[in-house]
């Protein structure tokens, strides 16, 4: 199983700020819900707004959960924590988490294409590359045709240099595996594509055959 992308790994790490019991009971569901929210956003600005919302709610939420968890702490001890201290603590956590999460989210993908493949990096990783367990769900004939004629057809070998709308992690010379991301009705897909025409020019439409197509949720 491949590792989750960094923003998710960071979010998982931030969950360690919560009490263990809360993290154990709801941590996976929090990550899943964040994944669902992000999958429903169509561009980077919307995704950033989600991260801002998630990060901004985190400090007070963490403090609330930890205070709730300190049932055994006497009110006398609790009262020694002033509201000013709480505010400063919350501010520090907000700044650190916001900086780390947004910084990592805006970084280029950290996978390395093979020498035969050329990939135009997206601002963020395509969603399909972000999870290892995307479920298979039915794909319309229209979507499949679009992917075969455009997404896989846009995979380019060296020295081609046209725009790439497909993203792949591996390519052994005949088979490419990766993701293609389209907004609107086409959604996001993982795919494997097999090369069917031996050319190395810019035009690859029809030169690739989809061997596996898996929609992202």
């Amino acid at each position: 199983m491949s590792k989750a992308p960094k923003p998710y790994r960071i979010y998982r790490a931030l969950l360690y700020l919560y009490p263990k019991a809360h993290r154990k009971a709801y941590g996976e569901q929090m990550v899943q819900t964040l994944d669902d929210i992000l999958a429903d956003q169509h561009d980077i600005s919307e995704k950033i707004m989600v991260w801002i919302r998630v990060v901004s709610e985190l400090p007070l939420n963490v403090i609330e959960e930890n205070i709730n968890n300190l049932g055994e702490m006497s009110m006398g001890k609790l009262s020694k924590i002033s509201s000013k201290q709480l505010t400063i603590g919350a501010g520090v956590v907000i700044l650190v988490t916001a900086g780390v999460v947004l910084g990592m989210h805006l970084r280029k993908p950290d996978y390395t294409p093979t020498s035969l493949a050329k990939v135009e990096h997206a601002a963020t990783l395509p969603k399909c590359l972000q999870t290892a367990d995307n479920p298979n769900i039915p794909i319309s004939a229209e979507d499949r045709a679009f992917i075969e004629n455009n997404a896989a057809g846009s995979i380019i070998d060296v020295p081609a240099g046209t725009n790439v709308t497909a993203y792949f992690k591996t390519y052994d010379g005949t088979t490419a595996t990766g993701s293609s991301v389209y907004s609107g009705k086409f959604g996001s897909y993982n795919f494997s594509a097999k090369k069917t025409a031996d050319n190395s020019t810019n035009s690859y439409v029809g030169g690739w055959k989809i061997t596996r197509l898996e929609a992202c949720r």
Binding site: Q29, T33, D40, V54, N61
Partner: protein, 115 residues
Amino acid sequence: MNKDQSQLPKVAFSILLALSLRERHGYEIIKQVEEDSNGKIKLGPGALYTSIKQLHGRGLILEVAHKDDTRRRYYKLSGAGRKVLDEELLYYENAVALARKRQALNHINPHVQGA
């Protein structure tokens, strides 16, 4: 619960209301709460599951296994949750009726008339 007294925080009430029609998973709850509040309540995963934990701890909602979606946990109202929601709604209904009687809503909506 005393019908003259609201006992639920706003977010908790909104979650119960979101679950009043059917069971939902986390993101579905977030979307429904946002829609029901005209976008005024935007929950993130942290705030959502803090409220869910409290509601679950009070026995107002139940976890439901979903055979077609094993990755997400679904929630539904319990009998106690339905009762509390009904009481909350009755409280708000009475409050609005009282406000109408006193014409306290007229500055919000001039078309609202006293009872």
